[in-house]
């Protein structure tokens, strides 16, 4: 009956998601986005009070009031969406995936009701970057350093027929010795710290490390626990951060592509 299963599969509808639809798609992630024109002092005060982590803060330095949203600490609880009076809504796209830690932080001037653009990562090219992956090869070793398995489940979803990671030449490999990149989920627990270091050392250089999820970026809801060492960069060097609790498969793919960006630029390719 192997043939019957294959035949049924062949007759099933095509579900592959196009690259443009895939890029940074955050639907279902419950990550927040801000409508700056609705931002007021009152809203800022309420959302900061509602936030269970320190992802939302008000910064009053230099005579200005800024609202700060650190995606790396956001556990996507959506309380700011409920408390934000329309100024907060679910993000349709979260492009800050695979970026440096500083780029996870966004800032709005509450008086001017506008985003303060400090260090805009070159995100518009990300869809192009994903396309440029086609035909290349990237071997990824996923390491769960203590996650709740939410992030690991979404990484696994990347291999399903909707996302089909293999079309980009990206494979998950069994050994860190075969890997170009470590995709690390979870707050690093005391009991996993040594194993994570060993896995990192086993990856041949040059190597890339991506911290995944609120826990991987900042410790998330487990920050400060006696059994947790900290975020991934407390234990090994990290090249890019993907926020989310958990990040959607699209956000994961966007993040992977973004971390590769410097390696894929034509001028750098030969020297890299």
């Amino acid at each position: 009956m192997i043939g019957d299963a294959v035949e049924r599969s062949l007759r099933s509808p095509q579900v592959l998601i196009s690259v443009s639809e895939l890029f940074s798609n955050a639907a279902g992630s419950r990550m927040p986005d801000v409508q700056p024109d609705l931002l007021t002092d009152e809203v800022a005060r309420r959302v900061v009070a509602a936030c269970p982590t320190s992802a939302l803060k008000v910064d009053e330095a230099a005579g200005r009031t800024h609202l700060i949203l650190n995606y790396g600490e956001c556990i996507a609880c959506s309380r700011c969406v409920a408390a934000g009076n329309g100024a907060f809504r679910y993000a349709e796209r979260v492009a800050r995936c695979g970026v440096r830690k500083k780029a996870l932080i966004r800032r709005w001037d509450i008086q001017r009701r506008a985003e303060v653009v400090q260090d805009e990562p070159a995100l518009s090219q990300a869809a192009e970057q994903i396309r440029s992956l086609v035909g290349r090869a990237l071997n990824i070793r996923q390491v769960d350093a203590g996650s709740c398995n939410g992030c690991a489940g979404e990484i696994l979803a990347l291999t399903n027929p909707y996302y089909d990671l293999e079309r980009f030449g990206i494979h998950f490999v069994a050994s860190p010795k075969h890997a170009d990149m470590l995709l690390v989920t979870g707050p690093v627990t005391r009991n996993m710290a040594a194993a994570l270091k060993l896995a990192y050392d086993a990856v041949p250089s040059p190597k890339l490390v991506v911290a995944v999820g609120a826990c991987g970026c900042s410790g998330g809801i487990f920050a400060g626990s006696h059994a947790v060492v900290g975020p991934v960069d407390a234990v090994i060097p990290v090249d890019g951060y993907i926020p989310g609790c958990p990040p959607t498969p699209s956000m994961l793919l966007t993040g992977i592509a973004h971390v590769l960006r410097p390696l894929l630029l034509p001028s750098r390719r030969r020297t890299a």
Binding site: S9, S147, N191, I221
Partner: protein, 489 residues
């Protein structure tokens, strides 16, 4: 060894006496501290699969171990010692469980200051199997696939496994301690991060415990929506498990096919509830989102289509001779061992033990409905696959019937925020009986204990292994499909 208990500690002997009875099943053993830092031990026992009974006692010194009476107690008592420093005299294996060599021996996080715990060193002693031709195969904590970390130490002769020792708790995050001092409405966010793939079950069990403590009635419509979420989570878990079991015997077409069906259900959740895994849906007092009557029809059709598609593929899977060859008589967990180790959920039902919280200890909407409980007696991989296939169809029917008679009204009521109370509540998660016990002081969680089905079921896995070949381990492990994080917490 005998321990003479003071009169104030009769709760312990009552619990141990009851555990000797054939109609008693150990649910959990855990500790707590009182208002004057005195330590308590609590035994939760299911009598006749109908009634949870709690025995509590203050602890002043070593207590007699329940493990010689009920092996199901083994890990609970090791955890009790790790967390509270309570010694269980007569325990056959008193090694630390939660903490590895890096943790100092005399630091117990539920009673000691753990702001700066020094790093310790040591060597873990695995059980040595000796004899001609015996080899040890260490596997993990980092595994070959995209799964959670844990260590398996096989002692083999050739391909055949003589002994398997588990060494887990690599993902131990001190979660029960993290609950302490958390406002009751915030605790649900920690509960959702105990085991990501069963996050809605954890959220509902936590919320029900809070509601039970405060005596709150959740609106009927919220109860119905919770049932839909719980059954959807079960469907998604079971469909993915059956697919992964096919993947472990090299039958990749159904593995990819079921992954596609799972994704359609996650996308349906996103479309109607804005969340792939129903995170943030359950809160104390009800649920946070409702859906319109137009949407219920479309959602129901999507769920039914996914279930129908899976049922058809499952039929083809079970009729494939190479699958039968690998699944049948592999990794047998006998009813006797299953009973002794106290396993719950699909693993218990595949070994002929009829346990299901939805029938035995129903809460919410489950009080008003009947749930079919499929039962298989062989306890092999095939039985565990069949249980999941049958239960997927049952869950689909439950969702369908609930959608047809969705009560009107609100989905959320307010919760008092400053009271003292204690309560527990259980749900049947995809992996089995999941129970939250909470103690609330001034609107904050003073103690939260999680009885996780994975914590209960893991010790049974090594018993199903001897005599099987090591190449069948991934398949047997997948057929149990236990959560590492849910167990390690």
């Amino acid at each position: 060894m005998n321990v003479t208990l003071p009169n104030s500690e009769t709760g312990i002997s009552q619990a141990l006496d009851l555990l000797r009875a054939p109609n008693a099943r150990l649910v959990s053993i855990f500790g707590s501290t009182g208002d004057h830092h005195e330590r308590y031990v609590h035994y939760l026992i299911d009598v006749n699969s109908r009634e949870y009974r709690m025995f509590s006692s203050v602890v002043t010194g070593p207590i007699p171990s329940a493990t010689p009476i009920s092996p199901a107690a083994a890990w609970y008592e090791r955890e009790l010692h790790d967390q509270y420093g309570i010694e269980c005299v007569g325990h056959p294996d008193p090694r630390p469980l939660l903490f590895h060599e890096n943790w100092p021996e005399n630091v117990h996080p539920m009673i000691d200051d753990v702001t700066h715990v020094p790093w310790a060193e040591g060597q873990y002693q695995f059980l040595k199997v000796q004899g001609a031709g015996v080899c040890e195969v260490p596997v993990g904590p980092i595994h070959a696939g995209i799964i959670e970390p844990g260590h398996f130490r096989f002692s083999v002769v050739g391909d055949t496994v003589l002994h398997l020792e588990l060494r887990h708790f690599y993902t131990h995050k001190g979660t029960e301690k993290l609950f302490e001092g958390t406002p009751v409405i915030d605790g649900v966010m920690i509960a959702e991060s105990v085991s990501g793939d069963n996050c809605f079950s954890h959220a509902v069990a936590y919320c029900q415990a809070i509601e039970s403590a405060f005596g709150i009635s959740v609106p009927p419509r919220a109860q119905a929506l919770r049932l839909i979420g719980l059954e959807l989570e079960r469907m998604i878990a079971h469909i993915a498990d059956v697919g992964a079991m096919c993947g472990d015997v090299g039958f990749n077409v159904p593995a990819a096919y079921t992954a596609r069906i799972k994704e359609t259900l996650l996308r349906a959740s996103t479309r109607f509830f804005g969340t792939r895994f129903w995170r943030g849906m359950a809160v104390p007092g009800g649920v946070t989102r409702d859906f319109s009557s137009a949407d219920t029809g479309e959602f129901g059709r999507m769920v039914a289509a996914a279930a129908g598609d899976f049922a058809e593929m499952a039929r083809l899977i079970l009729h494939t001779s190479s699958v039968q060859n690998r699944f049948e008589s592999t990794g047998i967990l006998t009813a006797e061992i299953a009973r002794q180790t106290g396993v719950v959920g699909p693993v218990a039902r595949a070994s002929g033990i009829r346990l299901d919280v939805r029938c035995d200890h129903p809460s919410g909407r489950y009080r008003d409905i009947n749930v079919d409980v499929p039962l298989y007696k062989y306890g092999d991989v095939l039985a565990r696959a069949r249980i999941r296939i049958d239960e997927t169809a049952i869950s689909m029917r439950l969702i369908h019937e609930t959608l047809k008679q969705l009560p009107a009204g609100s989905v959320l009521v307010s919760v008092p925020l400053s009271e003292n109370a204690e309560a527990w509540s259980a749900v049947e998660s995809p992996r089995g009986e999941l129970l939250y016990w909470v103690r609330i002081r001034d609107g904050k969680i003073a103690r939260c204990h999680i009885k996780s089905p994975s914590f209960q079921n893991w010790p049974a896995l090594p018993v199903a292994m001897p005599g099987n070949i090591i190449a069948d381990f991934p398949l047997i492990n997948k057929s149990f499909n236990l959560s590492y994080s849910g167990s390690d917490r």
